[in-house]
Amino acid sequence: MRIERRLTTPRWLVVGVPVGSLAAAFAAAAVVLLFAGNDPLATYARLFDRGFLAPGALTNTLITATPILLTGLAAAVAFRMRLWNIGAEGQLYMGAISASGVGLSLQDQSGPVILVGMIVGGLVAGAAWAVIAGLLRAYLNTNEIITTLMLNYVAGLVLSYLIFDSRSFWRDLTSSSGRVFPQGRPLSDAASWPGVLIALDPSFPLVIPFGFLVGIAVAALVWAMYSSTSFGFDARVLGDSPSAARYAGIKTRRVMVLMMGLSGALAGLGGASEIGDFRHVLDPRGLQQAGFGYAGIVVAALGRYNPFAVCLVAFLIGGLANAGFSLQGPDFPAGLVGVLQGMILFFALGGELLLRYRVTWSRPRTAAAAA
């Protein structure tokens, strides 16, 4: 096999490779399923049904897709800069803690005030958590892969501490069940984020969560930032070639920290949306089981760091995750979603080769042919 770098990438390949990777991943996962004694076609049919077709499925998929969209954008923004922010999970937790804290403190205010407060809280907390790793990377040259990951675990422990091992502000200490069983304080109804109701079919109402719309708006803003602002230009240069950026006088360390902050802010917003759109209470177990931070990485890679592609892929992966949650049981073991996500990522990575290089198969020249 010989490979040579491509100068340009054909259009059809840019879309074809991710789609092909998805198809290949499902085919490979079908083999795993067969091995485990499940019927792959039936399993996929159930996944598709629970993800997109069943009554209420589309709404649930959008609810699941929203944090994945935001963590996907977070990962895309960072990875494009070669800043390997794996901490979206922890940044999401901190955003959720902050947003629920704001929501609980502003109980008596009106809906829009709480909404803005929660969004800001999520953004700030997520950004702050990421900036820790960003500063360590920019000024002390510390590998951000390890630091963001370690901070994930710490954030998870903070979450546990607040609900399970302390009498904190977030904890429900008044209700009868709350006094016996550690759980979070539910937010007031005014703190529920609005949804857009689209009744295409009266029996299948579709509610688009506010967070999802915010996510799409954010994707557009990120795209605009990259294409039209000087900061976005600096970021792109830094991502492509740090030495060129330095020669050009770009303040590389500042850009690094700011981009980490942006990435963390997006993940934190995902956490805020989880609380505002869906859970309305700080639920450590649920947040940790969902693994939205890691799903975001899969989405970003499959979408090749393009904000709009990330939106589309987040919808698909959200459907998969939603179907996985609702199907969990003895005949649909947990772990299948991770297997599928991992495989999609593998094939997307393998497909990258086709995008960057032209592959030719040549025969080794034999002595007879040379003669």
């Binding site: 892969i145 990485i297 991992g342 593998f346 990575l349 960057r356």
Partner: protein, 321 residues
Amino acid sequence: MNLNDSIVVVLTASAIFYGTPLIFAAVGELLAERSGILNLGVEGMMLMGAVSAFWGVQHIGGPDWLVLLLATLLGGAAAMATSLVHAVLSVGLRANQIVSGLALTIFAGATGLSSYIGNVAHVGGQPARHEFTSMNVFGLGDLPVIGPILFHHNLLVYASWALVILAWFYLYRTRTGLHVRAVGESPETADVMGVNVALYRYLHTLVGGLLAGFGGAYYSLAITPNWIDGMTSGAGWIAIALVIFAFWRPELTLVGAYLFGLFSSLGFVLQAHQVRLPPEVFAALPYVMTVVVLVVVSTGWAKQRLGAPAALGVPYVREER
């Protein structure tokens, strides 16, 4: 008071006990990184090793030592098979090694294949039929102080010491070891010299997987003789940090691993001695200390003198030489 019960002795012995899986995983990752391949899938591979080894002890019959040996090997093999995917992607397909390693952890890790196998094969829920128990080496385990620290451990601890010596000898005293170090520093040069860069990278990634599998098996066969979903709780990531902390030298992984074993066990011991702090503080200690240690080690001074293999994480494309 019995000297053996003093807090120093208990902590040291405990540090060695909890640090051992990190040694296996770190030495494995070290070998892979020395060949230039960054494998972030250690956490996933350790979990594959843990679940497979546990399945082994529950389903293989025979004398104690044979079952444990086979189960550990099975764990290593499962992890090695998983690492093959990363090897193919990184070496064969020149993929981004960081994302590939992450994909491996997502695929095989706590909500992935290891969990799937755990459920589908009905592993877990029952304690292990065989486990690695503490041995009393030559009866020396009864000596005061050094007895519990050095001579009262399970077989895998002693295997890890042998591994470190072997790895050091391999890297610094054999020709193959020299070649692998060359491949990691400058694959172009090694290629010109006739060293098969791809083969070295494949083999060392696979060995890294094998050792990570042994480290994972330690969790399900020695620490908690059971299978729990995600039972390594980030040990694989700490092992990756340990490689950096050890400046890519096998002998220094001992220092790092036991230090982190100390942090992991500090919680239990302090609680037993009535130190009152929320359990999360103790649980967070290894992770926070990893960050602190990494910061110290990564500053410019250290990096200039004892840095990473120069070609780490960079795919080698001969046509672009």
